[in-house]
C-alpha cells in the first residue's frame, strides 16, 4: 500500500551544525509512528519539516505519491498535515470557537458569522468526544482542554496526518491516558499520527511502529510491537541503560524543612509535613491538585494563606523568593523558559544570578569568581555547551535544566524544591539529574519535588506525599510506593465516589 507521506533523504543544517542527515521516514494511512530520541537528536526539526514550518536543505517529501514542497505552514495545513505543538499555540483571550476558526472564520457580509463559527467549532469538538462549550474563553481552560482545542483546530482542516510534539508534557497521568485513547480512536478513523515523545511508556502503549533518531540520523526502527523498554532506550542513547533511576539508599539527618498548618491558598487545606536532611520526598497528584502552589508558597513566589515554615529548627517568615534564598531554600520552577532562565543570557550570567542576588554585600561584580562558579557548574552538572558564554536558549532542554539547577545550587541551599524536574528532558540527561539529586541528598540536602510522572516519583523518592484538591491525602513510604497506591489517593473524592 502506498504510504500517506514519504520523506526521502532529508537534510537540514542551522548555521554550522547539521541537525538532520539523510533521514527517510514514511507513515502509512491510519498508522501511529512514534519518533523517539534525546533532546537535540533532530526530532523537532524533522516534525517541523513535515509540517512545513521549516524547509529542508535537501531531500523530498511526497504525499500519496505526489511530490510536495511547503514554504509556509498554511500550505501543509491545506494538504492535510497538522501539528499540535509542544507549547500550545492558542490565544487565551479568544473563545474556543474563535481559536478553532482562527484565520478562516465563516463570513457573512464581510463580517465574522459567529453562528456558523460556533457550529463549526461544536462539530470539531464533538468529533473528539468533548462536551466543551465553544463560547468559553480559552484562558479559563486547563492544559488538557486547551490541547483538545488545538487538536480540534487542526482536525477541522480535514487533516490526514497529525504531528504531536511532546503532547503529554503538560498533562496529568489521567489526562494523558485519555489523550492516548483519543489517538487510537483517530487512528481507527484512518488518521495517521506522528507521535514525538520522551515518555517511553506512552510510546510502548500507542505506537504501531517506533523510529529513533540520534545525532540527526535514524538510529533504529522497531516495525511492530512489542516495544521492549530496554531496546527503546538502547536505540535512543546508543548503549544499554539498565535502570534509569539508580535509586541509592542513604542515611538521613534531622528535619531540615518543617511545614505546619500550612495553607498555600485559601482553597488548600492546612497541611503539615517535614523533610529531613538527606531525604528525597516526592509530591504526587493530578495537575490542579495544588502541588505547584504548595511549592511556590513555601518558596515565597506566592503569598501563603497561613501556617508556618521552619528551616533547620528556626522559624522563618518568607514573603519573597529573595527571602527564601537567604533562608537556604531554592526552587527549580515548573517552566524553565518563563520562570527558570533568562533565555537570551549566557550560561555564566544565568548561573550566577541567584548567588549575586543573595550576596547583597558586594557593590561590584566579581567576574573571576563568576567564571569559577560557572566552570564548576558546567563540570559537576556535565552541561554540554560550546562554552560559558553560550546563550542558554541554544542549549537542549536537558542542558537548560542543568543550568537552572546550577543557578539554584550556586547559592548553596539546604533545601532544594523542584517542580517537574525532568519535563522535556531526554533519557540520558534525566539519569544524570537523578544521580545528581542522590548525591546532593547524600551531602545532606533536603529535597522536595513535584512530578506528574508516577514512574519518576516511584523511582527516586524515599517517601511520597499524595495531593488531591489542595489537600495531602496520604503518605507512602518507599516500600509501599506503587502506581496503584498513588492513584488511589490522588483521585479527587467526587470522582472516586462515582
Amino acid at each position: 500500500m502506498m504510504p500517506l507521506i514519504e520523506a526521502r533523504a532529508l537534510s537540514k543544517s542551522f548555521g554550522s551544525s547539521q541537525v538532520l542527515r539523510d533521514v527517510s521516514l514514511s507513515i502509512g494511512e491510519g498508522e501511529i509512528v512514534s519518533l523517539i530520541g534525546e533532546n537535540g537528536a533532530g526530532k523537532s526539526t524533522l516534525s517541523k519539516i513535515l509540517a512545513g514550518i521549516v524547509q529542508p536543505d535537501s531531500g523530498t517529501i511526497s504525499l500519496r505519491g505526489t511530490a510536495v514542497s511547503f514554504s509556509r505552514p498554511h500550505e501543509s495545513f491545506e494538504a492535510g498535515i497538522g501539528m499540535v505543538h509542544q507549547e500550545l499555540c492558542v490565544a487565551e483571550n479568544l473563545t474556543i470557537a474563535e481559536n478553532i476558526g482562527l484565520g478562516r472564520e465563516p463570513r457573512r457580509w464581510g463580517m465574522v458569522d459567529s453562528g456558523a463559527l460556533t457550529v463549526m467549532a461544536a462539530d470539531a469538538l464533538r468529533r473528539l468526544g468533548s462536551g466543551l462549550s465553544p463560547s468559553r474563553l480559552v484562558g479559563s481552560l486547563s492544559a488538557a482542554e486547551r490541547q483538545l482545542v488545538e487538536i480540534a483546530r487542526v482536525l477541522s482542516f480535514n487533516a490526514r496526518l497529525l504531528i504531536f510534539d511532546e503532547p503529554t508534557s503538560s498533562l496529568s497521568e489521567s489526562e494523558a491516558r485519555s489523550l492516548l485513547a483519543l489517538l487510537k480512536r483517530l487512528r481507527s478513523d484512518g488518521v495517521s499520527i506522528l507521535y514525538v515523545s520522551h515518555r517511553l511508556q506512552e510510546v510502548q502503549e500507542v505506537s504501531d511502529r517506533v523510529v529513533a533518531l540520534r545525532d540527526g540520523c535514524i538510529s533504529g526502527e522497531m516495525p511492530y510491537p512489542p516495544f521492549e523498554r530496554d531496546r527503546l532506550i538502547k536505540m535512543i542513547v546508543g548503549r544499554e541503560i539498565q535502570d534509569t533511576y539508580g535509586y541509592r539508599p542513604r542515611s538521613r539527618g534531622a528535619a531540615a524543612l518543617e511545614v505546619s498548618a500550612f495553607r498555600a491558598t485559601p482553597r488548600h487545606s492546612p497541611c503539615s509535613f517535614a523533610v529531613r536532611a538527606g531525604e528525597i520526598v516526592g509530591i504526587a497528584g493530578l495537575i490542579g491538585s495544588g502541588r505547584t502552589e504548595l511549592l511556590e508558597s513555601i518558596y515565597g513566589a506566592r503569598r501563603p494563606a497561613g501556617g508556618s515554615v521552619t528551616v533547620s529548627g528556626c522559624p522563618v517568615s518568607i514573603s519573597s523568593p529573595a527571602e527564601a534564598a537567604l533562608a537556604g531554600i531554592t526552587l527549580v520552577p515548573e517552566s524553565r523558559g518563563e520562570q527558570g532562565l533568562i533565555a537570551e543570557w549566557s550560561i555564566t550570567d544565568n548561573t550566577n544570578l541567584s548567588l549575586i542576588a543573595i550576596q547583597r554585600g558586594p557593590a561590584l561584580r566579581d567576574r573571576m569568581a563568576e567564571g569559577i562558579i560557572t566552570q564548576r557548574a558546567i563540570e559537576t552538572l556535565r552541561i554540554r555547551c560550546a562554552g560559558p558564554d553560550q546563550p542558554v536558549r541554544s542549549l537542549s532542554g536537558g542542558n537548560q535544566q542543568k543550568v537552572v539547577l546550577g543557578r539554584c545550587l550556586a547559592t548553596e541551599p539546604r533545601i532544594l524544591l523542584l517542580d517537574e524536574p525532568t519535563r522535556g528532558v531526554d533519557v540520558g540527561a534525566r539519569r544524570e539529574i537523578y544521580s545528581l539529586l542522590f548525591s546532593l541528598a547524600e551531602r545532606g540536602l533536603a529535597i522536595l519535588f513535584v512530578s506528574s510522572e508516577l514512574e519518576e516519583v516511584i523511582g527516586i523518592a524515599d517517601r511520597a506525599l499524595v495531593m488531591s484538591d489542595g489537600e495531602i491525602r496520604g503518605e507512602l513510604g518507599r516500600e509501599s510506593l506503587s502506581e496503584h497506591a498513588i492513584m488511589a489517593l490522588a483521585a479527587p473524592l467526587g470522582r472516586r465516589a462515582a
Binding site: 523568593p321 518563563e338 542576588a357 550576596q359 561584580r365 547559592t411
Partner: protein
C-alpha cells in the same frame, strides 16, 4: 558596540550633509553649542534608559524638567530661598516623584504608561499653577551659579573649540551610569528584570526594588537636567519649558539600542542617539529649513534610519 554601527553611520552622514550645505556647522561656536545641547539631552536620556532597560517607560520627564526648572528661579528669586537649599529641595522633590512612580508601578501594579502619563499632566499643571503661568528667570542675579553651567573650558588650547562645563558634568554621569550597568549587581538585576521579570524574581532578585530604583534614577536625572536647562537658558515659560523632552529622551535611548521590550541598554549608544537628535535640530537651523518642519524632519530621518538598520540586519541574518 557593534550594534551602534548603523547609528554612527547615520550620525556621520547627517554631519557631513549639514557641513556641505553650511560650513558654519564646524565653526567653534556651533560645536560648543551643539556639545552643550547634546550634553543636556544626554543626561535625561541616560535617566530614561534605566527605566527602559527594566522594561518600563517614563513619559513624565519633560514635565519634571519644567517643574524643577521653573521652581528653581521661583523659589530663589521670588521667595528669596538661598540657592543651595532650593536646589537640594527640588532634587529631593524629583527623586520623590520617581519613588512615587516606582511604588505605584510595583506595589499597586499600575501600568508605567498610565502612571507617568498622569505625571506628565500633573507636574506641568502644578508648575503652571504655582507660578501663575508667568515666565520664571534669574534675570541678572545668580551669575555665579549660572556660570557653572554656561562656562566653557579651552582644555589648554588643545582643541580649536571650547568644552562646555555641562559636557563634563554629563561625561561624569555617563561614566557612572556605564559603570553601574556593566560592573554592579544592580546593572545585572536591571537587565534581568527587563528580559524576564518572572525568572528574575524566581532567581531571588528583589524585582520591585530594582524597578523603584530605576524610576527614581530617571526622575532624579530629569530633575537635575531641569536645573541645568534653566541655568543654561536663564528664563523659561512654564507652559512650554521641557515640552516633548521625554520623547527626545526616549527616542535617543531607543536609537542607542535600548529595546522598548526591556533588557537591553547601552550608555554609549544613548549618547550617540542624543547627539544625532541635536545634530538634526542644529541642521534645520543652519540649512535654513523652516523651523515649523523640525518635528517632521527629525521623525523622517529617524524612521528611515530605523528601517534601514532593520533591513541591513535582516540581509546580514539571511547571509548567515
Amino acid at each position: 558596540m557593534r550594534k551602534n554601527v548603523g547609528l554612527v553611520i547615520l550620525l556621520a552622514v547627517a554631519c557631513a550633509v549639514t557641513y556641505l550645505l553650511n560650513d558654519r556647522f564646524l565653526a567653534p561656536a556651533n560645536i560648543e553649542n551643539l556639545l552643550r545641547r547634546t550634553a543636556l539631552f544626554s543626561l535625561i536620556s541616560i535617566g530614561v534608559s534605566f527605566v527602559i532597560a527594566s522594561g518600563g517607560i517614563d513619559l513624565s520627564i519633560g514635565s519634571v524638567v519644567c517643574l524643577v526648572g521653573t521652581l528653581l528661579p521661583w523659589l530663589t528669586v521670588q521667595f528669596g530661598w538661598s540657592w543651595p537649599v532650593a536646589l537640594t529641595a527640588l532634587l529631593a522633590l524629583a527623586a520623590a516623584l520617581g519613588l512615587l512612580h516606582g511604588i505605584l508601578v510595583t506595589k499597586l501594579r499600575l501600568q508605567p504608561f498610565i502612571v507617568t502619563l498622569c505625571g506628565l499632566l500633573l507636574y506641568r499643571g502644578i508648575a503652571r499653577g504655582l507660578t501663575g503661568d508667568q515666565t520664571q528667570g534669574f534675570g541678572m542675579e545668580f551669575e555665579g551659579l549660572r556660570s557653572l553651567v554656561t562656562s566653557a573650558y579651552s582644555l589648554f588650547g588643545l582643541l580649536p573649540f571650547q568644552i562646555p562645563s555641562v559636557a563634563l558634568i554629563t561625561l561624569v554621569v555617563a561614566l557612572l551610569a556605564g559603570f553601574v550597568m556593566a560592573k554592579t549587581p544592580f546593572g545585572l538585576y536591571l537587565r534581568a528584570v527587563g528580559r524576564n521579570e518572572v525568572a528574575a524574581r524566581y532567581s531571588g532578585v528583589d524585582t520591585d526594588r530594582v524597578k523603584i530604583w530605576a524610576y527614581l534614577a530617571c526622575s532624579l536625572l530629569a530633575g537635575f537636567g531641569g536645573v541645568l536647562f534653566i541655568l543654561d537658558v536663564n528664563s523659561a515659560q512654564p507652559s512650554d519649558f521641557g515640552n516633548f523632552y521625554e520623547l527626545y529622551a526616549i527616542a535617543a535611548a531607543v536609537l542607542g539600542g535600548c529595546s522598548l521590550k526591556g533588557g537591553e541598554s547601552s550608555i554609549v549608544g544613548v549618547i550617540i542617539g542624543a547627539t544625532l537628535m541635536q545634530v538634526l535640530r542644529n541642521a534645520i537651523v543652519l540649512v535654513d529649513i523652516p523651523t515649523q518642519l523640525e518635528f517632521a524632519i527629525i521623525g523622517g530621518v529617524i524612521l528611515s534610519g530605523a528601517a534601514a538598520e532593520e533591513l541591513i540586519r535582516r540581509a546580514a541574518a539571511a547571509r548567515k
